[in-house]
């Protein structure tokens, strides 16, 4: 009797979350519809007019479906998800093909694609001066990075897998490689959605589409962070298998330096997450994860390391250890806004000591903080003198997975 009532209650709750997800998707579509109306140059692009009309129609359909007084509302339960993906595609098209056609909003993507072009011709991009990329991809001067000595950055500053990821675009002759980022983004979102238990999928969508920056603007605006997010998403999927998780972490680290920050917390995870195991087995898990990660990081970088170790080393470690001008939405904003006079050295000390404190706290309070590890890099980078918005918000997909893991665990405990 009690079990029946409980099932009924959870059905009602699930129906409610599906309805809310439909309304949420409709709200997102309206917001994007307006943005596309503003940036879509509708007077000269009839296809944008058509797309806007269709997206609004979709939003109205979601309004009606969400409020339908029938259990049938559960049949198209995935419609919110499909609608959000479609809207993302429409907005991505408008931003990349209408608003900024053929022009990148970051110098980084220009350098990476240019490096991929060089690599396709057998040239090691690390020792090369990549300044031609800035004119080739019409990078706006406001997005050009300067060092504290006033020099303009014109070298490759990422590990090699990011360049390799863009090789298919080069081979396919694509002038605009932002499609690669989009493919990684959609793959990440689809995996998170399908991996989540059916009943919480509508809720899992909400943080991912809570703002346009994560869902559309940053990727369409040439920030390639979803390329390392995808292997980390797969890492969470295989978190119970240290070998696969290690490979995925190594691949993510071979794309960009940001995931490196996770390394100490992940080692603690693999040491402490299976507390019922003997010490030897736990150490083996840590060793397996670390070895797999190092191997997966090195393999894509190996050719470049052998070709010119010095160029690879300085290219990969320059952004990791600073040497760029202060620019931040983080704590250093207090200095940037001419308020508190503090040099980058202060922020470096704060960043290091916060990271170290989080390691200690994570180890000691692992039982409570185990699933919070994805928040740590964002918190650490907020203290750095170059704390940019994408350093914070791109951890959201992984935090969603943490929340889902906690849900799965609670469910197991309840059933067990």
């Amino acid at each position: 009797m009690h079990s029946h009532a409980s099932t009924q209650h959870s059905d009602i709750l699930e129906q409610f979350t599906v309805r809310i997800s439909m309304l949420f998707a409709a709200g997102f579509i309206f917001a994007e519809g307006l943005q596309n109306w503003i940036r879509g140059r509708v007077e000269t692009h009839p296809e944008v007019v058509l797309l806007i009309i269709l997206t609004y129609a979709l939003a109205f359909a979601l309004f009606l479906l969400a409020t339908l007084n029938s259990k049938d509302v559960m049949k198209p339960r995935d419609i919110a998800f499909v609608s959000l993906i479609l809207t993302t595609a429409v907005s991505w098209y408008v931003v990349t093909q209408i608003e900024h056609p053929g022009s990148y909003q970051t110098d980084a993507l220009a350098f990476v694609q240019y490096s991929a072009i060089l690599l396709s011709k057998g040239i090691n991009p690390y020792p090369q001066d990549l300044q031609s990329a800035l004119s080739m991809f019409s990078v706006s001067p406001e997005f050009i990075t300067l060092t504290p000595t006033g020099n303009l950055v014109s070298t490759l500053n990422y590990p090699a897998l990011q360049v390799i990821a863009f090789l298919p675009a080069v081979w396919a002759g694509l002038r605009d490689a932002r499609i690669i980022i989009y493919v990684f983004e959609i793959a990440s979102i689809v995996i998170i959605y399908l991996w989540s238990p059916k009943e919480v999928r509508p809720l899992a969508l909400i943080p991912l589409f809570a703002g346009s920056d994560l869902a559309i603007n940053f990727s369409a605006g040439s920030i390639a962070d979803f390329i390392w997010i995808l292997p980390l998403v797969l890492m969470v999927v295989y978190m119970d298998r240290p070998l696969v998780a290690g490979i995925m972490f190594g691949l993510a680290s071979a794309v960009k330096q940001t995931p490196w920050l996770l390394a100490p917390y992940l080692l603690i995870w693999f040491f402490k997450s299976e507390s019922n195991l003997k010490l030897k087995s736990r150490l083996e898990r840590v060793g397996m994860f670390a070895a797999a990660a190092v191997a997966a990081f090195l393999i894509p970088n190996l050719w470049f390391i052998f070709k010119d170790f010095g160029a690879w080393y300085s290219g990969v470690l320059t952004p990791a250890f600073g040497n760029l001008v202060v620019l931040s939405q983080g704590l250093s904003l207090i200095t940037l806004a001419n308020g508190v006079p503090l040099p980058p050295a202060f922020y470096l000390v704060a960043t290091v000591v916060v990271a170290a404190t989080l390691i200690v706290e994570y180890y000691i309070y692992f039982e409570r903080l185990a699933f919070a590890l994805w928040a740590f890099p964002a918190i650490i980078l907020w203290f750095s003198y170059r704390g940019l918005q994408n350093y914070f918000i791109f951890w959201t997909p992984l935090l969603v997975m943490s929340a889902v893991l906690l849900y799965k665990r609670s469910n197991l405990e309840r059933k067990g």
Binding site: D129, Q131, P141, G150, P343, A356, T357, E361, I364
Partner: protein, 282 residues
């Protein structure tokens, strides 16, 4: 006991974090981060200057002072294995309306950038290809390859050529001839502030920092010189520091926060133990 040690370590880590950040704040407070005074000093990313229909390094301006039959070019090239910017002047004949045929690649500085460059060490690699010629009586230059600092009233020239180093002080003009071997790269250092001091000039409100190459009508021909590796190192500027009272205030805040945190942790531990023993009794 083990639990107590763990909690003590966790507490100590937070206290250490807070004290380290506060100490760094006390030590570093007042050191101003200044943006680089010269931007795109390595002169990359060339864009078209529509007013002159010229390819120009981003954020730099090129000025051409030339007669109708002269030819001037500024371009990127690699010379003696070093990427560089080349300044070339071809003065075709003596009979020309212009006395000088000159090319300037300049950036204008004022405010914070001006203050920064006056206390900076500027280094540049230069590759001169011709000797410096000047009027032996008036000491007025007849050609030049170097750097010009122009504040609208006074002119400071650093000339790089193979003659013995010497300084020429002319009315409103100071020329620092720096001996530099021809047809090879040499690194040279520039100290604008000390030369302004030596000339008895006041710090101006603005300057143009200019790479210059030119010749007068007396020396027609094909003149070229190369620059590379322009770098400005701005030392940290200590504008102010915390007074003893402010330092004590920061440390007092730390002490209060750490004490409150300690009390909260002790209370939390007590409550948890009480809850634990209640559960055991049940």
């Amino acid at each position: 006991m083990k639990e107590r040690v763990r909690e003590a370590v966790a507490f100590a880590a937070i206290a250490f974090c807070l004290l380290t950040v506060s100490s760094a704040f006390i030590v570093f407070y007042g050191q101003v981060f200044q943006p680089p005074p010269l931007l795109n000093s390595n002169m990359k990313y060339w864009t078209v200057d529509p007013t002159k229909n010229l390819l120009t390094p981003y954020l730099w301006t090129i000025d051409l002072i030339e007669g109708p039959t002269d030819n001037i070019s500024v371009y990127q090239t690699i010379i003696a294995n070093q990427p560089s910017i080349a300044l070339r002047v071809v003065r075709s004949d003596r009979n020309n309306s212009q006395v000088w045929t000159t090319v300037h690649v300049r950036q204008d500085l004022r405010g914070q950038a001006l203050a920064a460059i006056f206390r900076s060490k500027i280094t540049i690699d230069v590759y001169p290809t011709f000797t410096y010629v000047y009027d032996p009586n008036s000491k007025n230059p007849e050609n030049t390859f170097g750097i010009e600092i122009n504040d609208g009233t006074n002119l400071l020239w650093y000339v790089f050529a193979n003659e013995t180093s010497q300084t020429f002080q002319l009315p409103h003009t100071r020329i620092i001839l720096t001996q530099t071997p021809l047809n090879m790269w040499s690194t040279r250092e520039i100290d604008i502030a000390s030369q302004y001091d030596a000339a008895g000039w006041k710090m101006p409100e603005s300057i143009s920092f200019t790479l210059i190459l030119g010749t007068t009508w007396l020396y027609p021909g094909n003149w070229v010189g190369y620059f590379s590796g322009l770098s400005v190192e701005v030392p940290p500027l200590q504008t102010q520091s915390l007074s003893p009272t402010q330092t004590v205030t920061v440390l007092t805040i730390d002490a209060v926060v750490i004490t409150l945190l300690g009390v909260a942790m002790v209370e939390y531990t007590k409550r948890r133990r009480t809850d634990g023993s209640r559960k055991r009794v049940k």
